[in-house]
């Protein structure tokens, strides 16, 4: 007498489960991790080696690199912008700055990663960033124009590659020279679908690109410091167009 209802019940449960499994599945948000990597051409950069070569014939090294990317965002195929972090200071000497993680990023298909290199003029004020020692070390003095923070400090050594010259230092510091806005926006195409599973991306800076295309940068010509040289800042901004790339792992 009990047999039939039990069978029916099991059958009902099976069908219900099948129905659930075959029904429309809502895509789920997921965490996104971004690694910040430093390249010279096709290889990850090494520090303290005078091995890199500019178009004007200088060999140069990478000693220090600190830079801000702001409004790091993902853009959906419908144009929706999802900001992952307002501002990130990457310092190659501080491992904790190599990675950022955004939790529960909205599900969907993303077709671009966007950010600003540096800090836009309207936002380059003292209250835009947390008052930390690291940010204070990026202060831009008022004597060099309004705007509170450097965009980037890239430093190293260079020489001509033979015995006719000595090794010199360069400090390729970018920022709001005399109040101008040399920050620029970057948009990189990506193909990223977020649906419950953690995703990994990379933002790569190719240092070599700062020094050519369209302008060949001459360390000798510009001298050791360029914070007070609008023309050098303009060159850097123009060269910056292909410094960054985004990669989905």
């Amino acid at each position: 007498m009990l047999k039939f209802p039990l069978k029916s019940g099991l059958l009902f449960l099976f069908v219900a489960l099948l129905w659930q499994g075959c029904g429309d599945k809502d895509p789920k948000p997921a965490d996104v991790q971004i690694d910040f990597k430093t390249y010279v051409k096709s290889d990850e950069a090494v520090q303290n080696e005078l091995i890199y070569h500019t178009a004007v014939g200088h060999y140069y090294s990478l000693l220090n690199l600190r830079y801000y990317l702001t409004h790091i965002s993902l853009v959906k195929d419908d144009g929706t912008v999802v900001e992952l972090k307002k501002a990130h200071l990457r310092d190659i000497h501080v491992p904790a700055t190599k990675t950022i993680e955004a939790a529960d990023v909205a599900a969907g298909h993303y077709t671009a990663m966007t950010f600003t290199f540096g800090i836009k003029k309207a936002e380059n004020i003292v209250t835009f960033l947390d008052n930390t020692l690291a940010n204070q070390n990026m202060y831009w003095p008022e004597q060099l124009g309004p705007g509170k923070f450097h965009y980037m400090k890239l430093e190293g050594q260079y020489y001509c590659g033979n015995d006719t010259c000595t090794v010199n230092n360069y400090a390729f510091h970018l920022g709001p020279t005399f109040g101008a806005d040399y920050s620029f926006d970057v948009s990189q195409p990506i193909d990223l679908t977020i649906d419950g599973e953690k995703k990994f991306l990379e933002i790569r800076m190719d240092i070599d690109q700062w020094f050519h295309d369209p302008n060949d940068y001459d360390f000798d010509g510009w001298g050791p410091g360029i914070m007070n040289k609008p023309a050098a800042q303009e060159i850097a901004r123009a060269n910056g167009h292909n410094v960054f790339s985004a990669v989905v792992d």
């Binding site: 204070q136 202060y139 050791p224």
Partner: protein
């Protein structure tokens, strides 16, 4: 048999239900009073370790320990002997003399605004203020003690047991709690009352003189380029640089001693410029007796070596005129804070 088992059970239950033995009298718990530093808004947030929050009692204990000669091997020298308040908590001697009459090879760093430092000493060998306090006690050139002996000496004094109980909720005296208390006191040693701090207050009615303003402008220019290392409101980036003192570094290799990285040879921690008027002699080895000598060095004496900092891109120096040196010096003197030198909160409590 069953009856016997029943009686046994009753006895067991009775045993279990009897009043527990009176507990040992517990140490009376004392709640230390939390302290929040009232800092001017331009100062960055001080990161205080979660396991060593500031308390009135911890700071008071640290202050007493800072002036406690029992921290040295023969009971004659305290932290304050080489970090004197009227010298902005550094030593006016080029090299401090330890309890055995031996001298070190570096000038004592000032204890000022150290609460923001995560690497201390000229070579950065200490990770944080607590860690820093462990070194001089055992250094044979300084206090030349043994931490176990120091702890035993402190334990023998009832008043310290009481002070530790109030600071850490236990009268147990340990090396760890001793350096934590000293660190708490040192975090309160903040200088923020110089003329420059007053000028920074918009509408405060305090202004630089023309000469000071000229120095301020040169300090913050690409040519003077002091601001990159002596940056922000703390006037130090808390980083390590080779500022061109020497062409070779056969003697003191600085940060290299800690990292073993050849790129760090000749790099030393950037000292704060706050109270620079009172912290002579200057540089890690105290080679310059006056600010004039320092400015002369930056004007004409910078030496090139393989690890010379990229920010010192000016071979030989920045060629400041005598007038410009006077201007920079005038600006540097606006960083003097005599209230720090005379703050009774930092006096010897005994």
């Amino acid at each position: 048999m069953n009856k016997l088992a029943f009686i046994f059970l009753v006895v067991l239950v009775a045993w279990g239900c009897k009043d527990p033995e009176p507990a040992k009298p517990a140490e009376q718990e004392y709640q230390p009073t939390p302290v929040t530093l009232d800092l001017p808004y331009l100062f960055p947030k001080m990161v205080i370790p979660a396991d060593n929050p500031l308390t009135e009692e911890g700071i008071a204990l640290g202050r007493k320990l800072f002036y406690e000669p029992m921290l040295s091997g023969n009971g004659t020298q305290s932290c304050a002997d080489c970090h004197m308040q009227n010298s902005s908590f550094t030593d006016p001697a080029r090299f401090s003399i330890g309890i055995d009459g031996l001298s070190g090879k570096r000038n004592a760093m000032p204890v000022i605004n150290v609460g923001w430092m995560d690497k201390l000493f000229w070579d950065g060998r200490a990770n944080g203020v607590e860690d820093q306090a462990t070194f001089p006690v055992v250094d044979p050139l300084e206090m030349h003690a043994d931490w176990d002996q120091v702890v035993e000496k402190l334990k023998a004094i009832p008043s310290y047991q009481e002070l530790f109980r109030k600071a850490f909720k236990t009268s147990g005296i340990t090396k760890d709690r001793t350096v934590k208390a000293i660190a708490q006191f040192e975090r309160t040693m903040v200088s923020y009352n110089s003329k420059t701090d007053k000028v920074a207050v918009i509408g405060g009615g305090v202004f630089y003189s023309d000469l000071e303003q000229e120095g301020f402008d040169l300090f913050n220019s690409e040519r003077g380029d002091c601001f990159h290392c002596h940056s922000g409101i703390l006037f130090t980036d808390n980083l390590f640089h080779n500022n061109g003192l020497d062409e070779t570094h056969d003697g003191d290799k600085g940060l290299f001693r800690v990292t073993n990285n050849p790129a760090d040879i000749g790099k030393f921690k950037t000292p704060t410029l706050r109270n620079i008027e009172f912290t002579a002699p200057y540089m890690h080895d105290g080679r310059f007796a006056t600010l004039d000598e320092v400015l002369e060095f930056y004007a004409t004496g910078v030496k090139v070596s393989s690890t010379l900092d990229p920010l010192m891109g000016h071979q030989g120096g920045i060629d400041m005129t005598p007038h410009e040196r006077e201007a920079v010096k005038a600006y540097l003197l606006t960083l003097s804070d005599t209230t720090f030198l005379n703050n009774p909160d930092f006096f010897d409590p005994d």
